[in-house]
Amino acid sequence: MAGGAGAARGRLVIENAVKAYDTPAGPALAVDNCSLSVEPGEICMIVGPSGCGKTTLLNAVAGFHDLSSGRIALDGVEIAGEGVQAEPGPDRVVVFQNGALFPWMTALDNVMFGPLAQGALGPAQARDKARAMMADAGLADAQDMYPAQMSSGIRRRVEIVRAMMNDPAILLLDEPYRAMDSLTRAMMHEALLEMHARRPVTILFITHDLEEAVFLGHRIVVMSARPCRPTLELDIDMPFPRKYAMTAGDAYRGYVQAALEAVHVEAVKSFAAGEKEAA
């Protein structure tokens, strides 16, 4: 159903993952018995009310913290669970919500950072590959810019090229386009889909914007209010490459409506609760 040739890598399996934080008021459950599997090359959208623990789940996949119980495997290799030391790695790169380009490096140095740090490529090879990938993504003229001089759209696309430079098995995106206005966001979606068409990497994408989820995803996983666990999985059977004309179509509207109903129950619960949710 998803992913082109040579995309054997990037199969993610999460089995009843649980994560609890110890807070002064006793253990607070963030992720509760969450099971989910993502096929190679698939764009899987994680949707749920804000503060329900989606980011905690993504951080567990990324290896920033351990799980309280359950396990996570990437291409058969266990990356989180009992007796596994959580360790981030270039096979699963995160793109953060508020961006994490190194402000003191130019775009090109940022993109080359991964392979150079791992010693996977020599300086010359890294430079050529980085230039090629940035040209592919239409960022040729941003190479010598510092992050402070870039627009938010360009900054975000450089960050994705920096991640793809490491040829990751899975790309982890945490609400990357949240702060952007609708027009820039539209361009970001097109750029992401073009990149995915060229290089079908598995993508785990967190968002609370249902329209973004339906437009980008092969599949949507709707999470419950805190502590988060999948309550609905929705396959988006719309052809790729996706164009904005589809957003006026009935299929698209139908999926948004279905997702809205599924999420509505959870949102009302957290809306009424009103307490400031800890993310």
């Binding site: 981030p88 790695g89 995160v94 994490a100 003191w104 490096m105 950072f113 740090a117 490491n166």
Partner: protein, 283 residues
């Protein structure tokens, strides 16, 4: 009624920055003029009750600029520049030492929790003791007058530099560290290409503070036990009742202090252009 497009052109921006600089110099000159005017009015002209004990502005300026100064100190006398050289040398030695010791210690305390948990408590016990409270011990510990002064100046700088460097490391955005880890950065790469450049702005913040504090302690130390230097001039100006030299000393101190801070700001601008957005002002 056509309205011009008025898009900002490159020329517009360059002239804006130039105007900015001129304007700030203009303001400093205005400030100086206002302060001197206030002095002139209250002392020379109206000789108000308390103010008339102070030397008249005209007297101080003429003394400062004259070729044969009454009290032996003016911009034409060698001795004036010797005092400046003494003070400047002491500050640069103390400040240099504080930077050489403080930055590495600050970086170590910032990156390694073990170092921080052993060293920081001692640091925090000794820091509240003002550098100038060390005057008696400094005189006892180091024979002569030169070393105690440098030691006191060093102490003040050292605290400021170390603390700011440590806080700088701790203020680096956590997602930058995590991003670097994702991209496979080992400990040495993390330090050299993430921690060090990320802490640079805070280090310079610390240096700016530290040079200010250095002058603060230097003057006091010189006034208590010095034989040369601007603090010494100011103090003897009082004890020998040669009042104009007090103010000459204070003005010179202000100018030299301002120059050292400006020098550090210049070095900072050179090393951190990445902070400037395309419009040229500091991000």
């Amino acid at each position: 009624m056509a309205r011009d497009k008025g898009d900002p052109t490159a020329f517009g921006l360059a002239s804006a920055r130039l105007a900015g600089m001129l304007r700030s110099l203009g303001w400093v000159a205005a400030g100086l003029a206002l302060a001197l005017l206030f002095w002139f009015l209250t002392v020379d002209v109206m000789a108000l009750p308390r103010f008339r004990n102070l030397p008249r502005l005209a007297e101080v300026l003429s003394e400062w600029a004259s070729t044969q100064p009454v009290y032996g100190l003016s911009i034409h006398t060698r001795e004036y520049y010797e005092h400046i050289a003494h003070s400047l040398a002491r500050v640069l030695v103390a400040f240099g030492l504080a930077t050489l010791l403080g930055v590495p210690l600050g970086l170590a305390m910032g990156t390694s929790r073990r170092v921080r948990e052993y060293v920081f408590p001692l640091f925090e016990i000794l820091r509240p003791i003002p550098p100038l409270a060390w005057v008696p011990l400094a005189i006892l510990m180091f024979r002569g007058t030169e070393t105690p002064i440098v030691f006191l100046t060093f102490l003040a700088s050292f605290y400021a530099t170390t603390l700011n460097t440590m806080l700088g490391v701790q203020s680096i955005d956590a997602s930058l560290i995590r991003a670097a880890k994702c991209l496979g950065a080992g400990p040495w790469t993390m330090f050299r290409r993430i921690i060090l450049p990320g802490t640079l702005p805070a280090i310079f913040g610390g240096l700016q503070l530290s040079v200010g504090v250095a002058w603060f302690s230097l003057v006091a130390a010189e006034m208590v036990s010095g034989e040369y230097g601007l603090g010494y001039i100011i103090n003897t100006g009082y004890s020998m009742a040669t009042y104009p030299t007090i103010f000459i000393g204070m003005f010179t101190l202000g100018i030299v202090g301002f120059a050292t801070s400006a020098a550090i700001r210049g070095v900072e601008r050179a090393l951190t252009q990445w902070r400037r957005t395309s419009l040229g002002e500091q991000a």
